[in-house]
């Protein structure tokens, strides 16, 4: 299993923290500070593993999800993302089933002629040609640039699995769908970090 910053939450506790704590507890504590540190780190790791398996998607997901429909214009999509200060959102059909995900990356990819997305390359082109490339987007819809099919999870998926999925697929959000494939919530990278740390 690949471990990244999502899967590790180091709570920095120093030797000095331990000594101070021991001073505050009255009486003789028959353990050396370094032994306590050792027990603490192992116990903490164990607690993290336990929680990662116990906490499920439905406990941490955001239930009011901001979405767009497949035929929404890109301007509408951009406005929704800008107004809500989000970097991505799911694309849904009228029956609330998820067909794709649009993120800033998808916009950038299109603006870079499908090369590797780079904001600075877009700025460069804007500066060079004195006209912004996004102008030819006006006629496109969400369905045209969305990532599809997109990765989704079910409400009972444990935290550990979600974190690993985000690491491996390099995604920042995962829509949560029920067994009728309808959208019930969304989990962002920040939700994971907030829960674990």
């Amino acid at each position: 299993m690949k471990f990244s910053s999502l899967n590790e939450c180091t709570l920095p506790i120093s030797d000095e923290d331990i000594v101070q704590a021991m001073k505050q507890i009255p009486g003789y504590l028959d353990i050396t500070p370094s032994d306590f540190m050792e027990v603490y780190l192992v116990a903490f790791g164990q607690a993290m593993s336990r929680l990662k398996k116990a906490i499920t998607a439905d406990q941490i997901m955001t239930r009011t999800v901001i979405t767009v429909t497949e035929n929404a214009s890109l301007m509408e999509v951009a406005k929704k993302m800008a107004d809500n200060k989000i970097s991505g959102l799911p694309v849904v059909k009228d029956d609330q089933t998820v067909t794709g995900v649009i993120s800033e990356k998808d916009f950038l990819k299109r603006m870079n002629d499908d090369h590797a997305p780079s904001f600075m390359r877009v700025v460069l082109q804007c500066l060079e040609t004195a006209g912004c490339i996004a102008a030819n987007f006006k006629n496109l819809t969400a369905a045209d640039i969305m990532s599809s099919p997109c990765i989704t999870i079910q409400p009972h998926t444990p935290l550990m699995e979600i974190a690993t999925l985000m690491d491996q697929k390099n995604i920042n959000r995962v829509p949560v769908i029920d067994d009728r494939l309808k959208l019930v919530g969304i989990i962002a990278r920040s939700d994971i970090v907030q829960t674990m740390c």
Partner: protein, 178 residues
């Protein structure tokens, strides 16, 4: 009633140790007590000196059986015994007409002194007590008791502990010197 409710306990007791720990504790104690006892019984028996006292058995539990405990570290082992021996001899010399008082004040003061000097070592209490309850041979030693058997015996046991505990791959001794 709060006084009695404090006796309820209720805390979690620590886990037991594995077979390897038990084995190394046994080996360490065997090799640690053997030289001191041998000195006492075979080499110098018959002279006026004492080479082994009961508190060495107690120290063996700590330095071979609970090597990570702060009570088992060299500073505690050596410092605790020496300080307690001195206090024990003083208590005997001052209060020998009243042995029960000498005993209690020896142990109590030894504990207070070990706490103060951060050398708390449970067998130290025994070393102080032995200085008072004797045998006569021990009484006759006076302050020499501090060096022999206490100082010498403790150093021999420490050397064995440094060797045996570090031979064990799962152990490391000491945790700290000072």
């Amino acid at each position: 009633m709060l006084f009695f409710s404090k006796m309820k306990g209720g805390g979690q007791s620590p886990p037991g140790v594995g077979l390897s720990e038990i084995a190394w504790s046994w080996v360490g104690a065997l090799l640690g007590i053997a030289p001191v006892a041998f000195l006492h019984y075979n080499l110098f028996s018959g002279d006026d000196f004492v080479y082994i006292i009961g508190s060495f058995g107690a120290s063996a539990v700590l330095i071979y059986g609970a090597v990570r405990s702060p009570l088992a570290q060299p500073r505690n082992l050596v410092g605790g015994h020496i300080i307690s021996a001195i206090i024990g001899v003083i208590a005997y010399k001052l209060f020998y007409p009243c042995p029960w008082f000498a005993s209690s004040i020896a142990v109590a003061t030894a504990i207070a002194a070990m706490h103060t000097t951060k050398t708390l070592h449970p067998p130290g209490g025994a070393t102080a007590l032995i200085a008072v309850i004797g045998s006569e041979k021990i009484h006759d030693l006076g302050f020499l008791y501090v060096l022999l058997p206490v100082g010498a015996g403790v150093l021999i046991m420490l050397v064995v502990a440094l060797i045996v505990n570090n031979l064990a791959t799962s152990r490391k001794y000491p945790e700290f010197w000072f």
